[in-house]
């Protein structure tokens, strides 16, 4: 795909676009003289950190930004030579959605919750051409949904958005975007809210959509891997300007601008390369955390005896002092439930949790409180996990107050120390959470978790809400804290690169069970389970053409219904290699060499073991 961009004139062109945001403290320049152009059939990747002006540029060009506060100061947005910025709004409305198709980041909010999905797609057709009859629009809808890979399109078109998974909804949004054969397709972070496996599916769909329509595509993303995989040419945004435009191959091989070079150098180590962090072998001795056959079921109805969601269904692992275990899996596989159950925020249905040899499974009162000081959790979204009405210095000191150690430990000084330790100056201690950036907030959340000198930190997607560069910094901090303070981590992430970077061991979770566990390097370089292999191959690599070489497995479909897990192997319904036995016999974890276990019939039981 790359390097073969057609040599025709750009169909969509932005020239000298300058956008200000007018606030109470004066105007702030968000976009500063941006030039972009995209030719028919070409994919232009737009990359940069959040706040660099990527989305603002495109939204301003389509006049989708609210004015005020936004104000387009100068520039043109030419579609086939006509300037959208000076076009009468009635005409512009007919251009949007017909000549220009749009796909936004959040598939959960871009569909109307109370209309059927099919009707929304049909509406996208009929709003631009009233001569199309309802039945014709319905037929075309089914065609479009089929094109974007929605199974049973006629039946599913009658469902409502809440019955669709995120990946499926994003397909519907893409179907709407290409419904009228647009000349330009604009996708703004179309896969950011999705899992890697779903991301791979949706990127495939985008490619199909582009091929079918021949549209010039503008793909906005902060993920260099997605860029490498999709884009013919790339525009790099920094501080509201385009600092470099080049073909994808050129950009990755020899970046000219120093910012591009910096971006490229900060991308996480590709899977397959040896991990950069020295692997700390866990010191021999008793494990700090032991989890044995842990089960958490959620009853779905009012009665406890009804069908239950099997969120965590028999998980066993141990964590040595100073060790870090990564837990990966798609959303909905039960990782977050496992995290919350381990730290006793949820009551386990059955099983056993031991911390330093003490059974904490049914602890309560003062014992549980003492446990909570040693077993801490850091949540995914720091803007949600910090009380909006508490200054960050107080937020860090709060655990000390709760445990009655604020006075004896000199909480104020300790809070400042901790803030300093995580790289936040004491000067920020009396800021409110909303005055900090996402990365700073997550640092505060980490400082808060450290306040009570814990033994184990459970990190639930600690960096998935952060931008790539900030993510790398926070991961570095976590790594540093672990070796300095001898902490043990249970790190949960849907992103294998994150786990690879920080963890000694990895456990791959699917539908409430571990399907493969082992040393991080072993699992990432020699994956045994078909699901692990699919997960790994779905990760976009920031190297054009790299994924083609590795070969890829795109998983079809979604997770099975967790209230009724399959009777045999849970992965059977999505596995490309299943055999008869998989449908009936549930495989258990078996050893595949030192510290590497896999639950799959195909990988085979160790010789001599009973089936």
């Amino acid at each position: 795909m790359s390097g073969t961009a057609p040599r025709s004139d750009p169909v969509f062109q932005i020239r000298g676009l300058t956008v200000d945001f007018v606030g109470p403290s004066g105007a702030e320049r968000a976009v500063d003289g941006v030039d972009l152009g995209v030719r028919p059939g070409e994919t232009l990747g737009v990359v940069g950190e959040s706040g660099a002006g990527k989305s603002v540029t495109v939204l301003a060009a389509l006049r989708l930004l609210p004015e005020p506060p936004a104000r387009v100061v100068a520039g043109q947005a030419l579609l086939d030579g006509t300037d959208l910025l000076t076009m009468p709004s009635g005409e512009l409305r007919s251009v949007r959605g017909r000549d220009i198709g749009m796909v936004f980041q959040d598939p959960f909010s871009s569909l109307h919750p109370s209309y059927r999905v099919g009707d929304q797609v049909a509406e996208a057709i009929r709003v631009h051409d009233r001569t199309v009859s309802r039945s014709a629009a319905r037929a075309r809808t089914a065609e479009l949904l089929d094109l974007v890979g929605v199974p049973h399109p006629t039946r599913r078109a009658r469902e409502y958005p809440h019955q669709w998974s995120g990946g499926m909804r994003q397909r519907a949004v893409i179907a709407m975007a290409i419904a009228n054969g647009p000349k330009v397709l604009i996708a703004d972070e179309p896969t950011t809210a999705l899992d890697v496996t779903t991301q791979a599916q949706v990127l495939d769909v985008l490619r199909t959509a582009q091929r079918e329509t021949g549209a010039a595509t503008v793909l906005i993303t902060h993920d260099l891997g997605v860029i490498a995989e999709m884009a013919d040419r790339v525009a790099v945004f920094h501080d509201g300007r385009v600092v470099e435009t080049a073909t994808a191959t050129e950009l990755f091989r020899s970046p000219r601008h120093e910012y591009t070079a910096e971006l490229l150098s900060r991308r996480a180590g590709a899977i397959g390369a040896p991990s950069t962090t020295a692997v700390l072998r866990a010191p021999p001795g008793p494990p700090v955390l032991e989890v044995e056959d842990l089960v958490k079921h959620f009853p779905t109805g009012r009665r406890a005896t009804g069908p239950a969601v099997h969120a965590v269904d028999g998980i066993t692992f141990t964590l040595a002092p100073g060790e870090s275990l990564g837990l990966v899996g798609e959303s909905g596989c039960g990782k977050s439930t496992l995290a919350r159950t381990v730290v006793r925020l949820l009551e386990p249905t059955s099983g056993r949790i031991r911390l330093d040899g003490t059974d904490i499974t049914r602890q309560g009162g003062a014992d549980l409180r003492a446990t909570r000081a040693r077993l801490r959790i850091v949540f995914q979204d720091p803007s949600g996990s910090l009380n909006p009405r508490r200054r960050i210095g107080d937020a860090v000191a709060e655990p000390l107050r709760i445990h009655g150690r604020h006075r004896s430990d000199d909480g104020r000084r300790r809070a400042l120390e901790l803030l300093d330790r995580v790289g936040i100056g004491a000067a920020l201690a009396h800021r409110w959470p909303h005055e900090l950036s996402g990365g700073q907030r997550q640092r505060v959340a980490i400082a808060r978790a450290l306040a009570l000198e814990p033994r184990v930190l459970v990190l639930d997607e600690p960096v998935s809400s952060l931008d790539a560069p900030v993510r790398a910094q926070v991961l570095d901090l976590l790594d540093e804290l672990r070796s300095d303070l001898g902490l043990a981590y249970l790190l949960i992430s849907h992103d294998l690169t994150v786990v690879r970077q920080v963890c000694d061991r990895v456990a791959v979770m699917y539908l409430g069970r571990f399907v493969e566990t082992g040393a991080a390097d072993a699992v990432c370089t020699r994956p045994e389970h078909p699901y692990t292999r699919a997960l790994l191959s779905a990760v976009p690599v920031a190297e054009p053409g790299a994924r083609a070489e590795r070969g890829r497995i795109v998983l079809g479909g979604d997770l099975p219904d967790p209230t009724d897990p399959p009777s045999g192997c849970r992965f059977e319904s999505r596995c490309g290699q299943s055999i008869a036995r998989c449908a009936t016999v549930d495989p258990s974890l078996t050893h595949r060499g030192t510290d590497h276990e896999c639950a799959c019939h195909l990988v085979g039981a160790p010789t001599g073991a009973a089936p």
Partner: protein
């Protein structure tokens, strides 16, 4: 909040009510009940707001009336805040059957006709500010309770509550230190509106002659004035204006508060 014109005007109006309510009676030149000047003297240097048919000074009456209004507003607000927040917090945080029971009680209190109930109480026990405050206080909290409950229902699902639980915080601590500060802002907005209503009810009762005979009230003054409205406008208009300023001020402050707090979230 004071950046918006509505907010500035509202704060000024409420400030005026509080200021006059506090110092008004001490700076009032005359006894508001004393028959002291000519009947129906028009506003002048001696009688800034004129005099009523009995020759009483309307200016002094308005100054004294402010204290009555302020007293009713503040005490009812405190009662409403105490009962409403407690009920709302318990219902919102505990949910389940506690919520069910408390919300049925709230609904019961909400459907009581406040004005009518106040009249009944006064008819039974005689007029007096104390019973008026109790009746209004005990019937005005449901709206506040509902708002606090709704806030808590959404707040308790937020991650920082879970974070506090993971810190080892107990229920009381979570409710008081984590949830209450976040629920208080919308509660104050509602409180402003409730106080405005209460001021109106007090004025209406006094207008109908059901107020405390020993306390000057704007409603009472307005009633005295309306009888001679065709002859002299001032005995009715000035107390009426005072009522407008107080009620409008509370409403504006509530609105501005709502805008200011809404923007931050």
């Amino acid at each position: 909040m004071v950046r918006r014109p509505g907010g500035v005007i509202g704060v000024a109006m409420v400030g005026l009510l509080v200021g006059v309510g506090l110092i008004g009676p001490t700076v009032a030149p005359r006894d508001p009940f004393a028959i002291d000047g000519p009947s129906l003297a028009s506003p002048s240097g001696t009688y800034p707001f004129g005099t009523d048919p009995l020759g009483r000074d309307v200016w002094s009456g308005v100054l004294h009336g402010a204290r009555t209004s302020l007293l009713v507003a503040v005490t009812v607000a405190l009662l409403v805040l105490a009962v409403g927040t407690a009920v709302g917090m318990a219902a919102g945080y505990r949910a389940g059957w506690v919520d069910d029971i408390l919300m049925r009680i709230t609904e019961f209190a909400q459907v009581l006709p406040r004005f009518f109930l106040a009249i009944v109480v006064i008819a039974l026990f005689g007029p007096g500010l104390d019973r008026l405050i109790v009746v209004l206080g005990l019937t005005s909290w449901p709206l506040l309770a509902r708002v606090v409950r709704a806030e808590l229902l959404s707040l308790r699902e937020r991650e920082f509550v879970e974070a506090a639980r993971a810190d080892g915080a107990g229920t009381m601590r979570i409710v008081v230190r984590e949830l209450l500060p976040n629920a208080l802002a919308p509660a104050l907005v509602v409180l402003g509106l409730v106080v405005a209503q209460v001021l109106l009810i007090e004025a209406s009762l006094a207008f109908l002659g059901l107020g405390d005979p020993n306390a000057v009230s704007w409603g009472y003054l307005a009633n005295q004035g309306q009888r001679v409205l065709r002859v002299a406008w001032w005995p009715a208009v000035f107390p009426g204006l005072a009522i407008v300023i107080a009620v409008l001020g509370c409403n504006l402050v509530a609105d501005a508060l709502n805008d200011a707090l809404g923007a931050r979230r």
